[in-house]
């Protein structure tokens, strides 16, 4: 009876923590509701943080595959999730709609300042960055004779494929049109299929690729140089709601930061490759990585 009472109290505390995102009692660990966006790298990131926290005794609710930054940000501010991995440049340029800073550190600082005005905070950033890039088939690049994004000005008309939110982002299509003056670009929005499918089938001239995509390792695809830094600096940093951060305290932050610190470019590329090319599950890949680094 007494034990049942304790279990009931803990369950209610966890429930309150979840529903109100308010801090639970100082002794109990807060429930973490993790969300992630809907592409390979985010699946892996979501799993990494989820499994690392679970290994240290945290209860984690996982809301995988939410969608674009705009949607997942709305999920955070409305309390549906309290933790998700985000790209610093996207926060600054696309959510805060501020002018993109010129260094990675400045981008992180600006992103953190912004999130703190809306009930959230940023934990430490990862060493790796993943910027959108202007990609195309190498054969296309050779045919058009282009090496930098600026070179595309001489192409009379071309299509550019990407996630729908790319259309209105200054770190994506909008930047291409306004900063590079590529007004002749025609946008092809994607819903669920990958840009590489469209590139392979010749359905688009160029596409918004991610710099950590394993497909870019070979020579089939080429990335044009972004001389004007339109695509910004995109290190990953977990966006955490203030209530979760204060409830979790230093112990919580330490666990998360320990994971982030291990995510170098090489590590991320290897994990993305294991999922996208070798068809392993994000959960398994994340688990293997955490175990190898004694985080699980």
């Amino acid at each position: 009876m007494f034990r049942a009472r304790i279990h009931l109290t803990m369950a209610v505390a966890a429930l309150v923590g979840l529903v109100a995102s308010a801090g639970a009692t100082a002794a109990a660990k807060p429930t973490v509701t993790i969300g992630n966006k809907n592409f390979t790298e985010e699946f892996v990131l979501g799993q990494l943080y989820k499994q690392a926290l679970e290994a240290k005794g945290y209860k984690v609710l996982f809301k995988g595959s939410i969608g674009s930054s705009e949607l997942i940000d709305a999920a955070l501010t409305s309390g549906k999730i309290n933790f998700y991995p985000e790209y610093t440049g996207v926060i600054v340029a696309d959510i805060a709609k501020q002018k993109a800073p010129q260094t990675a550190a400045a981008t992180y600082a600006a992103a953190k300042r912004f999130e703190e005005t809306r009930g959230a905070t940023l934990f430490s950033a990862t060493p790796f960055y993943d910027t959108d890039s202007f990609g195309m088939l190498t054969s296309t690049a050779q045919k058009l004779g282009v090496k930098t994004i600026g070179d595309m000005k001489k192409v009379k008309s071309f299509t550019f494929a990407g996630f729908p939110e790319c259309r209105t982002r200054i770190t994506c299509l909008l930047g291409l049109k306004q900063v590079y003056g590529l007004t002749q670009a025609k946008f092809v929005p994607l819903a669920s299929i990958s840009v590489y499918t469209l590139l392979d089938e010749g359905k688009t001239t160029a596409a918004d690729v991610f710099s950590t995509d394993p497909q870019l390792q070979g020579s089939k695809y080429t990335v044009l140089t972004d001389t004007k830094h339109v695509f910004g600096f995109q290190n990953v940093a977990p966006v955490v709601s203030k209530s979760l951060a204060s409830a979790g305290g230093a112990a919580f932050a330490q666990i998360v930061d320990a994971v982030s610190a291990k995510l170098t470019l090489a590590a991320m590329r290897a994990m993305n490759k294991a999922v996208a090319i070798d068809k392993q599950s994000p959960a398994a890949v994340a688990g293997t990585f955490l175990k190898a680094n004694h985080l699980k």
Binding site: G35, N38, F39, T40, F43, K63, G64, S65, I66, A75, S78, K80, I81, S192, I193, S194, Y196, T197, D200, Q215, K262, L263, T264, A266, A267, A270, M271, K273, A274, V275, A276, I277, D278, K279, Q280, S281, A283, A284, V285, T288, F289, K291, A292, N293
Partner: protein, 235 residues
């Protein structure tokens, strides 16, 4: 590869030749991922569908009990069910998210809404289709209202009710694949993931095939149930 202070990057192993070249039916992938991807998705899908049909059945039945005798009520419920049915599933899921979040509840509310049309109409039709003289005869035999309902009306309406249940079940299993657009549950989830991974054929074939098989299986089961419950009518 170990750098000073850097991470240990384990060897994740290479995918088989079949996986790397995007084959149609890579048995090694299926074997490796049945337990962590396909089976959980299948179980989730069964649960999502069964729950929706069960709740829809209960609601539709309750409504039909009232609706089959009151014309105005019937028209109203019928119109509502009709309207719900025309809302594209993709839209309905998204519209519910702000209310019920990114949860199974959201998906269930939508799935239940879609079952209401078929279930309600069939039930109301079935109950209405009981001939008046049969009811007269029952009353003449001295049966109470409840007895008439349980022993005469319900059995006679059963074929229509079961036909509706069959259609509702199969279409729910189908719409449940769209649910993966908002929450990563059910057989739609591996399909959407595979679409994003440069059309990974094996996963699409496996998950899609399982969805089709599940629907056919459920349909077959219900046909047998129909035959067992109403041996006097051919399904």
């Amino acid at each position: 590869m170990i750098a000073a202070g850097g991470p240990v990057i384990p060897n994740f192993g290479q995918g088989s030749a079949c996986e790397r070249s995007n084959g149609w039916f890579c048995t090694d992938w299926l074997h490796a991922h049945w337990g962590d991807t396909l089976q959980p998705a299948l179980v989730q899908h069964v649960w999502l569908s069964a729950l929706a049909v069960g709740i829809g059945f209960a609601i539709a039945f309750a409504l039909a009990l009232v609706g089959f005798r009151h014309r105005l009520f019937d028209a109203g419920i019928g119109a509502l069910a009709d309207f719900l049915y025309t809302i594209p599933s993709l839209a309905l899921f998204q519209l519910l998210v702000p209310f019920t979040g990114l949860t199974v509840t959201t998906v269930e509310i939508a799935l239940v809404s879609y079952t209401l049309l078929v279930l309600y109409r069939n039930m109301a039709e079935g109950l209405r289709g009981v001939p008046a003289d049969v009811l007269e005869a029952a009353r003449g035999m001295g049966l109470t209202r409840t007895q008439t309902f349980l022993r005469v009306e319900l059995p006679l309406a059963l074929p229509a009710i079961l036909a509706g249940l069959r259609i509702a079940t199969v279409s729910t299993i189908s719409v449940a694949t769209v649910a993966a657009f908002v929450i990563p549950e059910g057989l739609g989830a591996p399909i959407f993931i595979a679409l994003d991974q440069n059309l990974f054929k094996t996963e699409i074939v496996a998950a899609g095939g399982l969805a089709v098989a599940l629907a056919l299986f459920a349909d077959g089961l219900l046909v047998l149930g129909q035959r067992a419950a109403t041996p006097w009518s051919r399904a």
